[in-house]
Symmetry: C2
Subunit: 348 residues, 2 copies
DNA sequence: ATGGTAATTTGGAACGTTCCAATTATTCCT
DNA sequence: AGGAATAATTGGAACGTTCCAAATTACCAT
């Protein structure tokens, strides 16, 4: 038990080489002979050496810190937890480690967290921005040459890379599916009209309606809070129309669940008397009754994509901002009335 | 745009003081006069200084790295995501930052991840160990004076602190509740018998049965994988008994959901024809149909507790290992047949 | 003014690593 | 065997901070 921790010098002494050689071994340089390499490795094992990245980072550009920061706006939401898992997968196998923080939608906390990450010398940042995040908030980062990838919520005029799901494509597919089931009066329910995500999903809906030859009618879109309660509200408005819709694509799954609640309150059974389609495919979507037909965005693969893009930029030194939109998939379950009845639930 | 990053020396120059003084300001020392302090702060702001913790850690004991590591065995499980959120809360407000990694129950990955965290000089570690983790795995950490707090799963003979929920108390309460509803043949379903958590929950069940004067019968406990599929399996065995049980306390919520599936497959309605109680209170528990009666463990507060304990140990320099078990609460919903019918679902 | 004390400030010398230029060992060719 | 080339190794000198001991300044009571 020597007092201080064991350093590269200690193992150099033990292996009978110089500290420089040890350093070479540490970074797997091909310059060192096989013989010395194994001698050094043995010494490291014997003395219980642990690499001190802090010291190393002092000499190297921050791109080699092997830390990547991940900031999400709501880790409680399993969507983001899964996203983080996806990021962790690729990041970990690339020898990086993940700094994860949660902002709880609080922009001040977001600032603090990002500042803290900078102090620790992150090589790159993946962030799902809290509401009201400004494009300018990431200026200092990119100025310092730290790659940033924004996920889930795109940031208006910022010069950073972003990965968002194909919102328009998703709602368009939902409309197409409903139309193919014979529905002609299809509503768009829920969401706040002043957000980018709403605009995209609505645009997809409009495209879908036109593509199906049903045309777009403003009165069929009723906005509301993007929550369960909002959904119940929205369906109420829809049911009060003189010429009622028979189906709805909802802003997200929460709204869709709310719509189902509202339908039942009016003695209508979702999936039988009215078709509803959600967006996101949260876990509850498959276990709910009826199981929710929805647009699946697979947060985990989104996380992987984001991490891959980030790593690419880190390795490239300085990379051009790039925007990718990830594919999205309609998963048909029961709430749209087109279910394949109980098609084999798998079991160990 | 000077080439390198701005250092403490740059701002010393700009503020007309020495680097030592700047350092003093950085650590909020009372030794520096108000006048110089603000001069220095101004310079920092002007030059866009960012503190380099790596360099600082070189001179300081690792307890001051302000990084705490969090390792969970399954971030996909919202239980652990919530736990991480709880940790993050207290850790963040103490000025620390959280390194979060996911082992996916893989012990090799766990080793890698912890090694990586050590390299980064974490001040402490909170870990929910992957299956088959040995007590010895944390020896090097504690030898190096790094506090470790084990959560959720206790580690047999290790000398580290731990925070686990009151497993025995939980199942005992579940049995008591079922007995009070008039059930006499109560099964214990699911879980692998070779885990500490299983033992504890089973022990509580046994205690509960004895306390209710029902006695313990080995044939009423049927183990299985702690998953939905396992639960369906287990209920199958239970239903095949000559003298069927009328209620079951399940190893966890997943098993309970599986049991419900199995019940329905046999044309029995959980909550009406058979009482089911789960354990964990995952989010789906309240939205499922029927809503699941279960033992709530509040992962978030568990995370907070763990973080507080860890911080205490970090500040104390070297602290005695301490084990706390967190209280647990029976939340009665519909699946046990004792529901308060639809007692006001809150909305907006 | 003068000494004494308290309040501030300040140069190095670490910390553990990587990089560079330079050195030494080894191999190959004629 | 001699030298050129190549392969391995190696001493510093950084990196940006904190700490220590020492130096300076300010303040007071004589």
């Amino acid at each position: 038990m020597t007092k201080g921790r064991v350093t590269v010098i200690d193992i150099a002494k033990a292996a009978g080489v110089s500290k420089s050689t040890v350093s070479l071994v540490l970074q797997g340089s091909p310059l060192v002979s096989e013989a010395t390499r194994s001698k050094v490795n043995a010494a490291m094992r014997d003395l219980g050496y642990v690499y001190n990245r802090g010291a190393a980072n002092l000499r190297q550009p921050s791109a080699k810190s092997k830390i990547i920061g991940v900031v999400v706006n709501d880790l409680t939401n399993s969507f983001f937890a899964e996203l983080a898992v996806g990021v962790d997968m690729v990041v970990q196998s690339a020898g990086f480690v993940q700094f994860l923080s949660n902002t709880s939608e609080n922009i001040d906390r977001q600032r603090e967290v990002i500042a803290s990450m900078r102090e620790h010398g992150i090589s790159g940042l993946i962030v799902s921005p809290a509401r009201a995040t400004e494009a300018a908030d990431f200026k200092p980062l990119v100025a310092a040459g730290i790659p940033v990838v924004v996920v889930v919520r795109s940031l208006p005029g910022s010069k950073v890379s972003s990965i968002v799901s194909d919102n328009a494509g998703g709602t368009a597919a939902a409309v197409e599916h409903l139309a193919s089931l014979g529905h002609t009066r299809i509503a768009f329910l829920g969401g706040f009209p002043d957000t980018a995500v709403f605009e995209e999903r609505l645009a997809g809906y409009v495209d879908g309606m036109n593509a199906a030859g049903l045309g777009f009618r403003q009165e069929l879109v009723v906005s509301s809070a993007p929550s369960r309660a909002g959904g119940a509200d929205a369906i109420g408005w829809a049911m009060a129309m003189s010429d009622r819709p028979t189906a709805a694509v909802c802003f997200n799954d929460a709204v869709a669940f709310g719509a189902c609640d509202g339908l039942r309150a009016r003695h209508m059974e979702p999936g039988r008397d009215f078709a509803v389609v959600g967006f996101d495919d949260v876990i509850e979507a498959q276990t709910a009754v009826p199981a929710l037909t929805t647009i699946s965005v697979d947060p985990q693969s989104m996380g992987r994509r984001a991490a891959q893009l980030l790593l690419k930029q880190i390795n490239a030194g300085k990379a051009e901002p790039e925007s990718v939109t990830t594919a999205v998939r309609l998963v048909v379950r029961e709430s749209c009335g087109a279910a394949e009845r109980k098609s084999g639930r798998k079991m160990a």
